[in-house]
């Protein structure tokens, strides 16, 4: 009764880089158009559409006003929004599989789009910095200088440092590895801009213990993909990328009560479910696209999944394990830190390319199983980034 290998990603469309002259909906439509073409399909083949929105759990509203299916005249039977922090690709895949399984749709277009870079430029002109446009009115802590992601994630780093002796230099090794990968990815924002650990250590403190180079990018862009059944996928233009397994976890279950959510993510159930469904083991994963909104998140996941022991993430990343040539290649396209920030769609798109053998200079030889994780969905003060998603993909 497993859903493993029954559904596939058959088309991918990416629009990366600043898009100040286009609206979000136009960027989304362009990414979907590219994904349909990449699959060798026609617009007429798409009979379902899902918009993927990086909303917080507290409930930002979707931009329904002019969705890409109308712009592209897709003959769809349904269109809706999946919205949840940095796990939107994973949740979108889970939803699409249900519609395919029940034969409500045959080819579904999914797309996530952001205009954070353009909005941040506007914010800057008003005296703000960063992504204040996504800060909701009324969340706890705003009168106290709580800047949500920056504030909460830096607590996690401070707690990990206090419990396990992790250093800023070790966190920096994660940023350096991401940059080394980005320098092999022409689509990455930081392509052609190599970085050393000294660059990291010399970058300004933003929200201590985090320095500027511990923080992810702010981006414009869109990632779209097409999903269909394994039977249909076999006849299409590109090699199918199968969904092997998925799993989810939530910090609001017990980690928050145990106060362990500042050094761990809700990996336990996500890992168990995804690997059980896929019938594979951690050692089978050839590249791991781990949600890296900040450097610390990578460290936590390396430990929580078991690539190293709890608290041993610092020495592990310092050894070069996650960079090019390392024992477990992590965020091989540069990740949110050095490629672009489209939540878990960034790592998802990279996983698809690795499995197709389209990753150019950064291609992992024999990449047959890749993992993509999601994280986020700030729900509630103080500082709960609750959701964790694990998606295993294979060729």
């Amino acid at each position: 009764m497993t859903a493993s290998r029954k559904y596939a990603i058959v088309g991918l469309g990416v629009v990366a880089g600043p898009q100040p002259q286009r609206t979000r909906r136009q960027v989304a439509a362009e990414a979907v158009r590219r994904a349909i073409a990449d699959a060798g399909l026609k617009r007429e083949d798409i009979d379902g559409a899902i918009e993927l929105v990086r909303g917080a759990g507290a409930g930002e509203r979707a931009a329904y006003a002019d969705p890409f299916p109308r712009i592209l005249a897709l003959p769809i039977n349904f269109f809706f929004t999946v919205e949840r922090g940095g796990a939107l690709a994973a949740l979108g895949i889970a939803a699409a599989m249900s519609f395919l399984d029940r034969r409500i749709a045959s080819h579904i277009a999914l797309c996530g789009v952001v205009d954070d870079w353009t909005r941040a430029q506007e914010n800057k002109a008003k005296g703000f910095r960063g992504m204040v446009h996504i800060e909701k009115e009324g969340a706890w802590g705003r009168p106290l200088g709580d800047l949500r992601a920056f504030s909460h994630h830096s607590w996690m780093a401070s707690r990990h440092m206090a419990e396990y002796g992790t250093t800023s230099r070790q966190l920096g090794a994660i940023a350096v590895a991401a940059r080394a990968w980005a320098c092999k990815n022409p689509e990455a924002k930081m392509y052609g801009r190599p970085m050393t650990i000294e660059d990291h250590q010399n970058s300004p403190l933003v929200v201590e213990p985090y320095r500027l180079l511990d923080l992810c990018l702010i981006s414009d862009g869109a990632v779209a993909f097409i999903m269909t059944t394994a039977e249909r996928a076999r006849d299409l233009k590109k090699p199918p990328v199968y969904v092997l397994g998925q799993g989810f976890g939530e910090i609001i279950r017990e980690l928050w009560w145990e106060k362990k959510n500042y050094t761990s993510m809700a990996v336990k159930t996500a890992k168990e479910q995804a690997f059980r469904e896929a019938g594979v083991e951690l050692k089978d994963v050839k590249c791991a696209e781990l949600y890296d909104c900040f450097t610390g998140e990578v460290l936590f996941q390396l430990e929580d999944y078991g690539w190293c022991g709890k608290g041993e993430g610092g020495p592990f990343v310092e050894s070069g394990a996650i960079g090019p040539g390392g024992s477990i290649p992590v965020n091989t396209g540069g990740g949110l830190l050095s490629c672009y920030h489209l939540a878990d769609l960034t790592g998802f798109a990279e996983a698809v390319r690795q499995l197709r053998g389209e990753a150019g200079e950064r291609q992992i030889p024999g990449c047959d199983i890749a993992m993509s994780t999601g994280h986020g969905g700030e729900l509630l003060a103080p500082g709960m980034c609750s959701i964790h998603s694990c998606t295993l993909l294979g060729r």
């Binding site: 204040v132 705003r142 009168p143 200088g145 607590w155 401070s158 707690r159 933003v206 201590e208 009560w257």
Partner: protein, 151 residues
């Protein structure tokens, strides 16, 4: 020690975001204005919650019927903290560098707030802190801030 010792009145024009005061947390904010630090407590097992929650260990019939806002110590220890060097919001440009910490209250829950009256460089995880009520009389609310505990 006079009660007013842990109160600070700020009358400067308020340029920061306003607090979120809604039906769920109105008693908490009302308490702060009266210089009382309230937590949501289960009458059966004494478990404390913040923010408001259904008791994890007991049925609370009728809904949340066994829980009540009760005055707490206002004391705790720093669980995690950061130092904000960049004011992402212009209302904080005169405040940087400021400490924003997770405080593990003596009753159990974590709450986040600023730790003031200390050089940010001196702040450490595990440091005992206590409530400091920051009154904003012009706006009609009190913010719960923390400072190093005075024995």
């Amino acid at each position: 020690m006079a009660k007013s010792d842990n109160v600070r009145v700020v009358s400067d024009p308020y340029t920061k975001p306003l607090p979120n005061i809604d039906l769920d947390n109105q008693p908490f904010w009302d308490g702060l204005r009266e210089h009382k630090f309230l937590l949501f407590r289960c009458k059966i097992c004494g478990a404390h919650y913040w923010p408001k929650a259904y008791c994890r260990f007991h049925d609370n019939e009728p809904f949340m019927g066994n829980l009540e806002w009760t005055e707490a110590s206002g004391k705790g220890k720093i669980f995690a903290f950061n130092i904000h060097h960049w004011p992402l919001h212009p209302g904080f440009k005169d405040d940087v560098p400021y400490v924003y910490a997770l405080i593990e209250l003596d009753e159990g829950p974590l709450i986040s707030s600023n730790v003031v009256d200390i050089d940010p460089r001196e702040v450490r995880i595990g440091m005992p802190v206590e409530i400091l009520y920051e009154d904003h009389p012009n706006e009609g609310f009190t913010l719960p801030k923390f400072r190093p505990a005075r024995e």
